[in-house]
Point group: C2
Chain length 332, copies 2
């Protein structure tokens, strides 16, 4: 396994280096200072690593995919900056968000500029199917925006079904992982539909599993490993998969009232105590919401991994399998 | 002249048609309803027409440039939606702005999505130099964001020089016109540096003249033809070229105080009367600010038009000359 971790870390550094070099100016300072700040804020670089690993698993040269992979990470950073404005988030990766450290208008402009820089970086790719790569990248943005629009729309609604929720996370999270993988396939020059569909399916299912697990870990995670406060989603009134499922299943009036309190709380007051979070966890256990979520995650993981069977190279198969395990087992 | 107006109107309709067809879905409604609203809000389509006219003036087929031209208009619309949030603008082209009719988060997302749709539309272009076209387009976005960042930065400063101001409008307005023209050159397959530089110079100088004229018309324009309220910039406390120049030249204390009042007014109170606007106009006349601005506009127009001399086709030369006149004489 060590060799995969080493590979991950090596490629991560290469991506970080390209991202650093993508900003070659300082003026206007009011724009490039926050851009450098946010691009230098760490992060696991999961999406670019997926692009590079897919390319390599299909016997392509990962170096040909470095600009595209870095562009995907810059694109992802753009979504974080704008999402943080909309979510009124104060911190991101342990540091102040751009709109908090500077202001709203700066954060809007920083996001816009990041999107342009993402394209600029992507356009350094030399490939005969560059137009396909660009279309794939552009569709990824369109899906992410649609997903974020649905997410915002759900905030105002109390009758979201689990199917609607799954569609939202597919668009908001999984489609960009799918695009990351597809670009890896194209750059590896394995442009056959069968291969591409398998790898896309792998990434899409992995992405949904990843987001569902994020929802689950908010309630059963280990704070130290997870890196977020347990019950944070409940405190923020987030409509997670678990909450939506619990509202679907809970029959007792007092349970329903508690669940609805999460949604209807005044966000500014933050009266949610640790005791309340424990009570919600009890409700989730009572109606088997945790088990149900775990089995759905398992379904998506199995779907993802079975898509890897088409990969000819054993080494390539193992690399992506390792990526999938690393992604999903990181937090317990 | 009639034949040029007819051409303008015909091409404008073709661009409008492509823009309409660029949105082929309705879901999520909360995203695509405001996108359709803003894309259908009129506008002169100056930038796409410039692309098409440049292509045709260089003996290219304008039809090959229709997707790129439409993409530039969609990109321009993205900048308007995000700028309106930052400027707290209530109306745009006689209708409510997106963030006013819906909300801030919707407007952020609508802008983001418009940028992706712009690229999607651009990527329908079939051209051997597509990568050059995309780089040119992307650099246009980068310049616009830098220009907007400078504009925001200027709001907090009272010591802006006219040179700083000219750099800001070059980036915020003129560079996108330059990119529009350059894309027309590339698509016309006239990829020689000499030609490209002339046409870029034409568009850049035209763009600066256009913005300076916008500043001037706020004080000497005909409300009906101009389509905006006279003195609107003064009411909004905008640091226009005229105001910056007047602050540079005004020596009398009472004049300076009035000029500084424009900048330092509390935007919410709006205590600026028509009488006050007349007084500012008098100050501008007293220090020859209006004459000075007119002569600077003339300088940029002359620079723009003399760049057209390199165009071989007389018809092409006349077409771009007509465009330049139309752009700059529209409002008196």
């Amino acid at each position: 396994m060590d060799k995969f971790i080493n590979k991950y870390n090596t490629y991560k550094r290469e991506v970080e280096n390209i991202i650093r070099l993508s900003i070659d100016k300082d003026f206007p300072t009011c724009l490039y200072q926050p851009i450098k700040y946010i691009l230098d804020s760490g992060g696991k670089k999961l999406r670019p690593i997926l692009t590079l690993f897919v390319c390599e698993a299909l016997e392509g040269n990962y170096k040909n995919a470095l600009f595209a992979a870095s562009a995907i990470e810059i694109l992802h950073t753009f979504t974080l900056v704008h999402d943080d404005i909309m979510d009124n988030a104060d911190t991101r990766r342990g540091r102040e968000t751009v709109h908090k450290k500077w202001d709203r208008d700066t954060a809007i402009l920083v996001g816009d500029q990041l999107l342009a820089i993402a394209y600029k970086t992507l356009l350094k790719t030399q490939h005969k199917y560059l137009q396909d790569i660009l279309n794939c990248f552009t569709n990824g943005i369109i899906e992410v925006c649609e997903g974020q629009a649905l997410d915002k729309d759900f905030e105002a609604r109390n009758n979201i079904t689990t199917e609607e929720y799954l569609l939202m996370i597919e668009k908001k999270t999984a489609k960009l992982l799918e695009a990351s993988a597809e670009i890896g396939v194209i750059i590896a020059n394995v442009n056959t539909k069968k291969y591409k569909d398998s790898i896309k399916n792998f990434a899409l299912n992995l992405g949904i599993a990843f987001q569902l697990q994020d929802d689950l870990l908010d309630i059963i995670g280990d704070e130290k490993k997870f890196g977020k406060t347990i019950g944070g989603d409940i405190k923020q009134g987030k409509k997670t998969f678990l909450l939506i499922k619990a509202l679907e299943l809970a029959t007792q009036k007092q349970d329903r009232e508690k669940l609805l309190y999460i949604i209807n709380q005044d966000k500014k007051r933050k009266l949610i105590t640790d005791k309340f979070i424990s009570e919600i966890k009890e409700i989730y256990i009572k109606y088997k919401v945790i088990n149900i979520t775990e089995s759905l995650i398992k379904y998506y993981i199995t779907s993802a991994n079975s898509s890897l069977m088409s990969i000819k190279s054993k080494q390539g198969h193992n690399l992506l399998k390792w990526f999938s395990n690393m992604l999903l087992e990181r937090k317990y």
